[in-house]
């Protein structure tokens, strides 16, 4: 029983990092109706920027704020420079651009910072809580995740900008007709997604250590979590991320052993999606004729 509880707790801890990555994916999805496969590498790159700032002597929170701001700007720049020219291209062409971006960021990070792992400081230092199975940092990550979730929720629910952003992603032509600056909405969406990604990266790095491949696996789980919860629902994405963490742990510990735990977790997720094709908490959208 104790072991079970510990598996659940450590699953939640890992799930916490999936959840925050899932939030970044939800953000970009709401703004562009695409899932940005380069999101993880962008977060990784932001984290290296933070590391560089801290290495240069900046205090943690200074580097944190600096990184979030810089990532926001970089996100906008990427949209304007890299994504805009393929704005009218077929979806898969855009996906290929994402893949291009992914390999570029990964490769450049490896080139600049090498592939040796680096430790990254936590804003929530100190020992463990809850009987030693959750570190203070992991708890902090959950707090941050919930904070970001709340902000996103308020943003999309109550601000005209949030609504305009969703509208621009869905129907750019009609959005223009009501006066929405669609181009800026996309850029802003990228900026916000990059900023959230930066937060995610800085929360993840203390756990998995900083290296250019740090986000590869996590992005996948974040993706799975976001879809499991419903990609149009930030709260669902967080729940989905946490669920993936726990599910993976439990299937590893009790179902099949560690060798196939990922496989089993994925089969379960896909199974759930087959039954609920828009995710657990996603809205069922009807396209009628």
């Amino acid at each position: 029983m104790e072991a079970f509880l510990h598996q659940v707790l450590s699953g939640l801890a890992t799930g916490g990092i999936y959840a925050i990555v899932a939030l970044a994916l939800v953000m970009i999805y709401q703004a562009t109706h695409l899932v940005n496969f380069a999101q993880g590498e962008m977060a990784m790159f932001s984290t290296y920027l933070a590391w560089t700032m801290i290495d240069a002597g900046l205090p943690y929170w200074g580097a944190f704020a600096g990184t979030v701001a810089l990532s926001f700007a970089l996100g906008i720049a990427i949209e304007r420079i890299v994504i805009r020219p393929v704005g009218n291209a077929p979806v898969l062409a855009v996906v290929i651009v994402f893949i291009g971006l992914l390999v570029i960021l990964n490769s450049v990070a490896g080139w600049i910072y090498t592939y040796t792992i680096k430790s990254f400081p936590s804003p929530f230092p100190g020992g463990s809580v809850l009987g030693g199975y959750l570190s203070r940092h992991e708890l902090g990550v959950m707090g941050v995740t919930l904070g970001v979730l709340l902000l996103l929720f308020l943003f999309f629910r109550f601000t005209p900008l949030g609504l305009a952003m969703r509208a621009a992603a869905q129907n750019p032509v009609s959005s223009r007709l009501v006066g929405i600056r669609v181009g800026w909405m996309l850029a802003l969406g990228w900026g916000l997604a990059a900023a959230i990604g930066a937060v995610a990266g800085m929360m993840v790095a203390p756990i998995v250590f900083l290296d250019p491949n740090m986000m590869a696996g996590i992005l996948l789980y974040g993706f799975a979590g976001a879809l499991l919860g419903g990609i149009d629902n930030p709260a669902g994405a967080v729940a989905g991320g946490l669920a993936v963490g726990v599910l993976e742990n439990l299937s590893g510990a009790y179902l099949v052993g560690t060798e196939l735990k990922l496989t089993v977790a994925l089969v379960l997720i896909v199974g759930v999606l087959v039954v609920r094709p828009s995710g657990l908490f996603g809205r069922v959208l009807v396209n009628r004729v």
Binding site: A3, G110, Y115, T116, P212, T258
Partner: protein, 379 residues
């Protein structure tokens, strides 16, 4: 003087050496080795080359993918016409190209993998390993355990690939009849974000000994996680990941106290070598030839030392730079010691012995440096 004899890739002025390395993909951390080798050859060339011949080093990326390794190797052999393929990295990649190279009678020399299958002169006379193989190392820990903690309950964490499984096999072989000491095994995939869940499971097994068969990132995670969940087993760490600078420091030196590992190279981050002449030469070389390289990264010692061995072999070849002679010379290294090998560790090969380095020394981490104990031992 003996008559000059050349195979493709060698001439009066040049020796072409090919290499494949994962400069991209999940194993790209190893790319440092390929670069270090190139940097060492640059130094040799600056110093006049080998018997007056410059080394042309052609290193290609295979992204740790066997099909790509085959393609790149064929390019090295058929297009670039290298004399030999040196330090090709990774068990899967080397397995993929072994048949081709042996069929073509091209030396596959000093492969950069610790799998056990590379020392098979009968079956694959053109393939030779270099580093102590994983099974040897694992057997050393097993022997230590049988001698010092015969009633241990052991938990294992290994990477689910040939590297992990080789260690596993060596360890079990080493324990022999007492393999039942192993009470828990867990594996992970390189794509896993963390191994936290595995660590929790292993702790729950009640084990008091932990054999940590992981690559650097996961090793650091495991060391930290064990500390965080207050699990204090006798902790064996495979030498793949025992770098003070790139594993123990990120994990937290205080959390690594008491770790047991083994080595055959000098750890560049270990203060005990600060005044060692071999280390100082290495450092000078790093500064001059590999300035982008990471001074804490043992891969830079590994590549440096492996390249030194090849240089020795090529020197021994003299003017007979045929592929046959390269293999012959590679198989006649006797008691060779190198500046960055641990004192006492010697390189020995023979027509029936394709395992150049077979000794390692156990060591324990004291919070600052590794303390060697005992003498270099073979498996």
């Amino acid at each position: 003087a003996a008559q000059k004899k050349y195979s493709p890739g060698a001439s009066d002025s040049e020796i072409k050496v090919g290499n494949i390395n994962p400069y991209s993909g999940p194993a790209s951390a190893y790319g440092a080795i390929g670069k270090a080798i190139g940097a060492y050859f640059a130094k040799i060339n600056d110093e006049g080359g080998i018997n007056g011949r410059k080394i042309t080093y052609i290193t290609l990326d295979d992204g740790y993918s066997p099909p790509k390794a085959v393609e790149q190797t064929r390019r090295l052999v058929e297009q670039d016409q290298v004399l030999l393929v040196f330090q090709s990295l990774g068990t899967p990649s080397n397995t993929a190209i072994q048949k081709y190279l042996n069929g073509r009678k091209v030396p596959q020399l000093f492969v950069a993998t610790g799998a056990t299958k590379w020392g098979d002169p009968k079956g694959h006379p053109w393939t030779m390993g270099w580093q102590p193989n994983y099974q040897t190392e694992a057997r050393i820990y097993a022997r230590y355990l049988l001698e010092n903690k015969p009633d241990a309950k052991v938990a294992l964490l290994y990477q689910n690939d040939d590297y992990g499984k080789d260690y596993l096999k060596g360890f079990k072989d080493g324990l022999g009849a007492k393999a039942s000491m192993i009470v828990a095994e867990a594996s992970y995939e390189v794509t896993d974000p963390t191994i936290d869940s595995q660590m929790v499971t292993l702790k729950a097994s009640g084990a008091d000994t932990f054999f940590n068969i992981t690559t650097p990132k996961f090793a650091a995670q495991a060391i930290r996680k064990a500390h965080d969940i207050d699990w204090k087993p006798l902790h064996f760490l495979n030498n793949v990941s025992n770098s003070v600078g790139s594993v123990l420091t990120p994990a937290g030196l205080d959390k690594a106290v008491g770790l047991v590992s083994s080595y055959y190279l000098k750890d560049p981050t270990d203060p005990q070598w600060a005044d060692d002449p071999g280390y100082k030469d290495w450092l000078a070389w790093m500064k001059k030839y590999n300035p982008d390289g990471n001074l804490t990264d043992t891969f830079n010692v590994f590549g440096y030392s492996a390249a030194q061995t090849l240089v020795q072999v090529l020197k021994q070849c003299g003017d007979d730079l045929t592929r046959e002679n390269v293999m012959k010379q590679a198989a006649s290294l006797k008691g060779l010691s190198q500046p960055m090998l641990l004192p006492g560790v010697k390189i020995n090969t023979g027509p029936d012995d394709f395992y150049p380095i077979e000794q390692m020394q156990l060591m324990r981490f004291n919070g600052k440096t590794w303390e060697l104990f005992g003498t270099p031992i073979g498996g």
